[in-house]
């Protein structure tokens, strides 16, 4: 019972934060709400017994990615946007379609019964017996997903190089200030 209460409270807060991220006029405040969003999502992950992913979520998302966002906002000194911070004229049709899709999906999800779960090999008990969540994830990651893992490291390397090349100051360029 208390678990359900926790989930609904967290879900409510996540919804509020998500809406605030999108609608707030001030980019820094949006970033703060995004941090709240990610932190609460990590809590949901932890309640789903995914401790490793929860820790990584806070470490990488809230601790690195959003800090970068905040850093760039401060670097460019972006103030609050004017009244027209949302794109006007808003294509009402798109809003309508998206809202209808959303409500139908959520309604269907909440009204229909639970999808039947297939019994996989890593039930919580099996994970506990195997040496905990982190250990088991590492085992899966380094056996079944070795190649994707290596490729993702190359991807990071490429992204680092790309970011440096793109953001490097070009001396010939006109600098606006």
């Amino acid at each position: 019972m208390s678990q359900e209460l926790m989930f609904y409270a967290t879900a409510f807060l996540i919804t509020v934060c998500s809406v605030m991220v999108v609608t707030n006029r001030n980019p820094v405040v949006s970033a703060i709400y995004l941090v709240g969003d990610l932190f609460l999502l990590a809590a949901v992950f932890a309640s789903l017994d995914a401790h490793f992913v929860a820790a990584i979520q806070v470490l990488v998302y809230a601790g690195a990615i959003v800090v970068l966002f905040m850093f760039v906002i401060m670097l460019l000194n972006l103030g609050p946007e004017g009244k027209a911070h949302l794109r006007i004229p808003a294509p009402e049709l798109a809003v309508l379609v998206l809202t209808i899709i959303g409500f139908t999906t959520i309604g269907t999800l909440l009204l229909t019964g639970q999808a039947p779960g297939v019994g996989g090999e890593w039930s919580p008990e099996a994970i506990q017996a195997n040496g905990g969540n982190t250990f088991t994830i590492a085992m899966v990651l380094f056996t079944k997903f070795t190649w994707p893992f290596e490729i993702s490291s190359i991807l990071i390397l490429l992204a680092v190089i790309a970011a440096i090349v793109i953001a490097k100051k070009d001396k010939k360029q006109v600098v606006h200030d």
Binding site: V21, G119, H176
Partner: protein, 100 residues
Amino acid sequence: MISINHYLALATVMFLCGTLGVLFRRNLLLVLMSVELMLNAVNLVFVAGSRLVNNLDGQVMVFFIITVAACEAGVGLAMVIALYRRYGTVETSFLRMLRG
């Protein structure tokens, strides 16, 4: 045990917020943040699904998604800085070079 459908509903809400942000925000940084929101909705689906079917592939996939999101944020923000240097703004409505 909370039904997986509730997790999926929450993910839908987050994903829709993200989509609306990408479509309707003028600020390029906010567009990137909305993309992060959408990726996180997907993460939630993966973790909830992984718990439902007792398979850890979902959580490993979240690990990869976070990796890709970090790359995306790094390159995206570098592009935002470059654009700001070039045009002095990060509003999408001013960046219409490709529209001809």
